[in-house]
């Protein structure tokens, strides 16, 4: 915590207070014979865990299939694949939380604003998953690289190439499949084995792409929970006592809380509006939207 007074003059003071916290942790051990404790279970497709050897709050879900170099593998139908087993796909713990409070006073007027910052954690967004599946979010009607809406029909020319009016999505990745031993086998577009990676050229329909947000790798629903929030603004005026007689220290102030947010990974949600109950963090979905509040205060002494 850092307190500064950048400016101090006869009638004008500027106070600044900065709070910064950082956490590094590792789950060392649990009960005998237990290597994982499920802290919370999302209604769909993800869990938050305390797993021995990992940082507290690891999110588990299915991940993309990737080759040895980390490139995403898609099926010959152009769709994402998913791992058979759940993998660590994120962690709820932020790298740091920071608050910066600036307060100013000039004669009887005081003014302060508080900025909250969080950086480095992740959350699982049920809103994004179902919002895409049901075609409600605007990303489900995005414009593709051909300049068309992804919901438009995928159209092939007579020679088999895609028409410039094609809708649909072309995912970045190489064709491939997973062998029973877990290794990745590159494929050609026709499904035959390939020794080298072959770039995906198969478009999938917009609706199929959106359904696969639910039906394929759940890593798609992991977003950073970073934010910068204008947490509070206060402005007040203390009436000089020479005007108030017996009643002293009359102060009128107005405040607003949760006024603005910047820097979210997923713009539709407030990353602080996740399921947070005791040990459970990081599962977003089904929450009422966060509120701005405004108020007035009047204080006096006598």
């Amino acid at each position: 915590m850092l307190n500064l007074v950048p400016i101090k003059m006869k009638d004008f003071v500027w106070n600044m207070s900065i709070n910064y916290s950082h956490n590094e942790n590792k789950v060392v051990s649990l009960a005998k014979g237990v290597s994982n404790l499920e802290l919370g279970v999302a209604p769909f497709n993800a869990t938050v865990n305390a797993m021995v050897g990992k940082s507290y709050g690891t999110i588990f879900g299915t991940d993309f299939i990737k080759d040895a170099n980390g490139n995403i593998i898609v099926g010959t139908n152009g769709r994402y694949l998913a791992t058979t087993t759940v993998k660590p796909i994120g962690n709820v713990m932020p790298k740091y939380n920071m608050g910066i409070n600036n307060s100013f006073s000039y004669k009887g007027i005081d003014f302060s604003f508080l900025i909250d910052v969080q950086h480095g954690g992740q959350l699982f967004s049920t809103t994004y998953m179902w919002g895409m599946y049901s075609g409600i979010l605007k990303e489900s009607a995005a414009t593709n690289e051909l300049g068309n809406n992804i919901r438009d029909a995928v159209v092939k020319n007579e020679d088999g190439t895609y028409a410039s009016t094609s809708g649909g999505v072309l995912l970045e990745g190489y064709y491939g499949k997973v062998n029973t031993d877990g290794t990745v086998q590159y494929l050609n577009a026709d499904g035959t084995n390939s020794d080298v990676p072959v770039k995906n050229t198969t478009r999938i329909g917009g609706q199929r792409y959106c359904w696969d947000v639910y039906g394929r790798a759940q890593k798609q629903n992991i977003f950073s929970s970073d934010y910068i929030k204008l947490r509070e603004i206060r402005i007040g005026y203390t009436i000089p006592s020479k005007y108030t007689g017996m009643i002293k220290n009359i102060r009128i102030s107005a405040f607003g809380r949760n006024l603005a947010i910047w820097g979210q990974d997923l713009k539709h949600i407030d990353p602080e509006n996740t399921t947070s109950s005791g040990n459970i963090q990081g599962i977003e979905g089904g929450a009422l939207p966060s509120l701005r509040t405004f108020g007035l205060n009047l204080t006096f002494e006598f």
Partner: protein
């Protein structure tokens, strides 16, 4: 202001003991709970409607067809896995309370100790066979001591089946026919010892029959599966009529209504219809041609099954027919084009609050005996008759159907058994995996429906992570096992050839 404090030391440790909570559960109450929990969770809208009945292609969804196309909800899978083991914990408790010196005397007031243990072993065998038939290798022998072993190893299915056969043999032998099994709380048989013995033996037949197709040479205590079945037949103690059926009957009053009634009328869902593949079979019609060249014709072509109007309700809007089922495996948008009014719902009988969910019935025993005797025609027809009588078909209709039905052979016996297993979620699919019948089941990639304007809908199993040309051979393990029992899960998954829909279980010829 003052502070006053008191202290007390008299009978301090009793303060936290609630006089209202029983310390030793009466075993009959545990039994009632198990009998109800199993049916509540297996024949409901989740494990039944969004899982088992879909794989059976007997009841399917008309609003959200994602699970029909094999994208099952992990939460439903997890919940089922959990329920199986927690109900078995109750069964283990019944066995413990009837075995330990401290409690067995008290529990014998509710029925002979050995009879209670036998009944618990029979139900445990029923449950575990279900579990291993669906998933393959599962924890069993190490699964009952959560305190000392929270991470149980998975048993090979071969060993599980060996244990099931042994348990059922032991259970049948230890039943004292002169004493009640439970003096109260036994909703299946009201404590009737002979019926429990018949149930134990009939279930043993089901266990052994599963092995005859691909593992018929494996011996258990020196006997092959077919020998085990013949032994039961010779004993004469097995289900002999519908009066011996193991059925859990619900009640009309809240909160004991049947799970489907709960789904339709209390949860007010209209999500399920009778599957068109099943309706077509009962109408004596052919399903649409597969489109892949596979012969999927109806072995009972031209023969209308009188069970159809008993199991299916007439459509509200008969545009596609008075009885018309929802075609299987369409996309959401297409199933909505048909919609809930044009497809047959389950009948009023199936949706009654006091419906009886079936653990096992006489018709299945008849078909098992027919198969064991080389597809005996007499037993096959007994099975058809038993099923029709159970569902309430009148005698004249039964007689004329049986006179016209084609004679017993592997396909006909298996297909009639498939119809008779209706309502018993998962059993028809499990038998399909074993026998390959009925061939009227629609497979991924085949035509599932031809619309009036002539265009077809293909059943795409687009929810499956693995390419399917036939129905899944098993269900994937609960995802919780991957994090909570990771080492054992990984070992088991490797042993069965991968935790996928493609790995065959041991009795189907897999690892």
């Amino acid at each position: 202001m003052s502070l006053v404090a008191f202290g007390c030391t008299k009978s301090f440790e009793d303060t936290n003991v609630s006089p209202n909570s029983p310390v030793d559960m009466p075993t009959y109450a545990l039994m009632t709970n198990v009998q109800k929990q199993l049916m509540d969770n297996m024949r409901d809208e989740w494990w039944g409607g969004r899982f088992g009945w879909l794989l059976d292609q007997q009841i399917n969804q008309n609003n959200y067809t994602t699970e029909d196309r094999y994208l099952f909800r992990q939460s439903v899978n997890d919940q089922y896995w959990n329920t199986i083991y927690t109900t078995c914990t109750d069964l283990q408790e019944i066995i413990r309370l009837n075995t330990e010196e401290a409690t067995k005397g008290k529990m014998s007031a509710y029925g002979a100790n050995s009879n209670q243990i036998a009944a618990a072993m029979v139900l445990r065998s029923w449950v575990i066979q279900n579990l291993t038939d669906i998933y393959g290798d599962v924890p069993f022998s190490q699964a009952w001591d959560a305190v000392n072993n929270p991470s149980p190893a998975y048993d090979n299915q071969k060993d599980i089946y060996a244990q099931l056969l042994k348990d059922l043999t032991d259970a049948s032998a230890m039943i004292d026919l002169n004493k009640p099994v439970f003096t109260q709380g036994d909703e299946l048989y009201g404590g009737d010892a002979l019926k429990w013995k018949k149930f134990a033996n009939s279930l043993k037949m089901r266990v052994a029959l599963r092995l005859t197709t691909h593992r018929g040479d494996v011996t258990f205590d020196g006997k092959t599966p077919i020998q085990i079945i013949n032994e039961v037949i010779e004993s004469g103690v097995y289900f002999e009529s519908n009066a011996d059926n193991a059925v859990f009957t619900y009640k009309t009053g809240t909160p004991n209504q049947a799970p489907l009634y709960d789904a339709y009328f209390i949860q007010a869902r209209t999500d399920f219809a009778i599957c068109n593949q099943f309706v077509v079979l009962l109408k004596g019609e052919n399903p649409p041609a597969s489109g892949t060249g596979r012969d999927n014709t109806n072995p009972f072509l031209g023969l209308a099954d009188p069970r159809l109007p008993i199991l299916a309700a007439p459509t509200t809007d008969p545009e596609y027919g008075t009885y018309f089922g929802m075609p299987y495996g369409m996309q959401d948008a297409e199933s909505k084009l048909i919609g809930i009014n044009k497809a047959s719902w389950p009948s009023d009988k199936l949706l009654a609050p006091d419906f009886g969910c079936i653990y096992m019935d006489y018709a299945e025993v008849c078909f098992m005996i027919s198969e064991a005797k080389g597809y005996d025609d007499g037993w096959y027809k007994k099975g058809i008759r038993a099923s029709m009588e159970y569902w309430g078909v009148d005698a004249a209709a039964i007689d004329s159907y049986i006179a016209a039905v084609p004679a017993a052979n592997p396909e006909n016996v298996a297909t009639q058994k498939y119809i008779a297993l209706f309502e018993q979620a998962h059993q028809p699919w499990i038998e399909y995996r074993r026998t390959g019948f009925p061939k009227t089941m629609v497979r991924p990639g085949e035509v599932t429906f031809v619309w009036p304007d002539g265009h077809s809908t293909i059943f795409e199993a687009d929810g499956s992570l693995w390419p399917l040309t036939d129905l899944p051979r098993r269900m994937t393990y609960s995802q919780k096992e991957q994090t909570l029992n990771a080492d054992n899960y990984t070992a088991a998954a490797a042993r069965i050839g991968g935790d996928t829909f493609l790995s065959k279980v041991w009795w189907e010829g897999g690892n």
